[in-house]
Every structure is written in C-alpha cells, then in structure tokens.
Symmetry: C2
C-alpha cells in the first residue's frame, strides 16, 4: 500500500490506521481466500461510504440549486452517484490497480468490473470517514467530484436509460442473468421513409411503463425511458 | 409557530431563521392553495433531511455493530427509517398538529397520513441542518431516535413484510391505487388438521419471489417475505 499512501498525499490524506485503508481495498473474494488474514473485506465500509456520499451530494445539490424542485435534484443525484460514474472515479484515481481480488474474481475480470470499482470508491470514502472524520470526506468529494459536477459532466445528457436502470436496480430487480428486466420494444413507425418517426415502449416484466417517440430508435428509447422515469418519480411523490 | 418553537427548546433548538421551520411544516397542498405566500413547501427540505438521517443512522449502526455484516446493517437501517417509524416520531413529538395542509388534503385525512408525517419529520431534520448545522441534527437524532433503537424497539420483531414493501416502494413500484403489487398466496397445507402447516408464496406482478411455511398463514407470510427479502438483498450483493 506504499504507493497508495503516496498517491493520497496529493489529497492531504494520511491514514492513521492503514488497516482501514487495507480493508477498503480488499474485495470479499480475496478475504474468502485468505481467511487467516486479519483484514476484513470492504462491504461494511462500502455501506458507510455510500451513505456519506449520498448525504454530501444531496447537501451540495440542495445549496447549489436553490430554485430546483426535489424531483430535479433527485434526478441530478442519481446521475452523479450512479455506478458508472463512481467506477470511473476509482479508475481516474488509479485505485483499481490496488484492489485485492481473489484468484477467480481476478480471472473473471473483477478488476474492470463496474460494481467492484464502485464499491471500492465508496469503501474508500467510508475508510476516510472513520480515520479522518466527516470533513475530510467532504473535502475529498469537493476536490475530486464537485468540480466535475460543476463543469457539467453530469448534465450534458441525462441518460434516462441508465437512470431508469438505477431505480429498478436499487430495488433488487435483477433476473437470474444479473440483468434488469427492462425491454425496449419498437411498437410503431410513421412519417415518410426518408424521415421516419419511431415509437418505442419500455416494458418491465411485460408491462408498459413508458412510451417514447423519436427520429431514431435510440432517441425513441431515451424518450421512453424519460417517460418511465418521470412516471416512477411522480408515483413516489404523489403517494 | 410560537408553540412549536417552545416545544423545540426542550431539544435545545432555537431557529435563527423561523422561515425554514415554517417551510418544513408546509405541505405542498397548502402551498398550492396559498401561492402568494412567501413560504415554499417542504419537499426540498425532505430530500435533504432524508439523506442526513440515512447517513447518521448508517454511521451509528456501523459503529454500534462492529461485527455485523453489511446485509444485517442494511436490514436494521430499513427497519429504523421506514415510513411508519418516522411518522410515529412526528406524532410523538406532536409535530402533526402544526402541519399546514390544504383544505382538500385536510379533509382527506392528510394530517394522519403516514407519508405526510414521514416527510414532515425528514423536512424538519433538513431545516435543522440548514439552520443549526450537522451536529445539531445528529444531536437531535441521538436524543430522540437512538435511545429507541438501543432499547430494542426496532428489533423485537423484524417485520419482513414491511421491509420487503420498502424495497419495492423505494423503486417506485406502486400501482394506480398507490399499492405495492405484492401478493401473498396460500399454495399448500400439510400436517394434521389440528396442527396444519401452511405454505405461502409471495408474488410480485405474478412472479414468485419468495416461499414460506408456518403454523399460521400469518407466520407463513412473514417467512415468505423473509425469503424474498433475503433473495433481493443477495441479488444486490452478488452482482
């Protein structure tokens, strides 16, 4: 972990308890292959880091967008804390090379796995919280993540297909193949042949939850996802 | 709000900006009937308070249960922050009588509505955060909520039917009647007539997601809900 500690100095972070840092970088597959090791795997720290991150981002959004409604803030939050962005931060920070994986997990591409890298990033935040306190986590997030939010990296395109996935994923709706059973079905086409308009439904377990239109199938799918996303949020708000 | 401010003194809270407190106690139905009022409704504060509460409870659980796995901590968290408990806190604190509702909402029983009271409690936490800072929210939660957690109010019975509802609810799976489409179906009965064993499946949109057994239908339903809950959590963890 020598190199990692050096790397963290750039963020003014020096761990008092390096074992917390080691825990954050230990995937459970490694732990189960080295049970005699005194270092636990990173799931508990990930649970903690996830909650700290959620709160810090929410507080930031609340203050940064004083005129936006809750629905808009929720949407922004989802696009910021979604798996792909957090995994990207792990990669950008070079955390992935320090992740300890079991042999099987390594062979199966666990070092590039988005979920592993997301969890690693969150577990790291949890470790910083326990070792350095809340302000250190907040400073780190404001140094590393907030500038990317402010330069608009997260709102160039709201990827509603991902946002919709996230809602269903959070509820554990993944099938036996680890996929979320959302399907995009082309249900109609109109307009002239050279300028067609596609109609797409998004279905969850056979039930239509959103409808969209667009000049391409891709655009129509995003439009359907947006419709479904708004419907789901509205149901939550109207309850 | 005079009485409310007095009430809060018992918790060492005196608002510098009473308008934040007023916002926390304004339901959107009231806001839409009094649009000329300068006070906004409480959805933004609820968004903020929800995240602060989540983080504070998670941090507490992480420290209080150093030997528990993430799955157990998540389960505890869900039982603590679930709607019914938070609504109960609003009632115990006497917040419900100060909630500003529109006429229609009042007539429809909005003052007893669990969602309204949950949102009120969270919005109050958000207002304390903005007015008094993070430590004030934490102190309040440690004074009001944590003792109830420590006296075991939340783990006497883990109500898996509610915990399962919560998972699906969070994802916005509510039907047009504002219900979560989870069904408990008796699929078998065995054993002697005087000591039957019931078999129950829990279904989500027609698909079996958990199976249970028990000496009564009620016990079998809880057992099926526990099975489904564990399956959902496992899918999330194994991804």
């Amino acid at each position: 972990m020598e190199n990692l500690q050096d790397k963290l100095k750039a963020y003014h972070i020096t761990f008092n308890k390096p074992e917390l840092l080691a825990e954050a970088f230990t995937h459970k597959s490694y732990y189960f292959e080295h049970k005699s090791s005194s270092v636990f795997h990173n799931e508990r720290l990930e649970f903690l880091g996830d909650a700290a991150l959620g709160f810090i981002i929410v507080e930031y959004l609340y203050k940064a967008y004083p005129d936006e409604r809750e629905g808009v803030l929720t949407e922004k939050k989802i696009s910021i804390v979604r798996r792909e962005s957090l995994a990207d931060f792990s990669r950008q920070l070079g955390f992935d090379q320090f992740l300890k994986l079991g042999n099987g997990e390594e062979k199966n591409g666990g070092r590039e796995n988005e979920a592993n890298l997301e969890n690693l990033f969150e577990a790291f935040l949890g470790a910083v919280l326990m070792d350095q306190g809340f302000n250190a986590v907040k400073n780190f997030i404001y140094e590393v993540m907030i500038p990317k939010i402010e330069d608009g990296s997260y709102d160039k395109v709201t990827d509603y297909k991902s946002a919709l996935q996230e809602i269903f994923y959070t509820a554990g709706h993944i099938d036996t193949n680890n996929k979320i059973p959302l399907e995009y079905v082309v249900v109609g086409q109109s307009g002239p042949v050279h300028a067609p308009i596609f109609e797409v439904n998004v279905e969850f377990e056979g039930q239509v939850i959103g409808q969209g239109k667009g000049k391409s199938k891709k655009i129509a799918e995003q439009d359907a996802a947006r419709d479904a996303f708004v419907n789901q949020k509205k149901q939550q708000e109207d309850r």
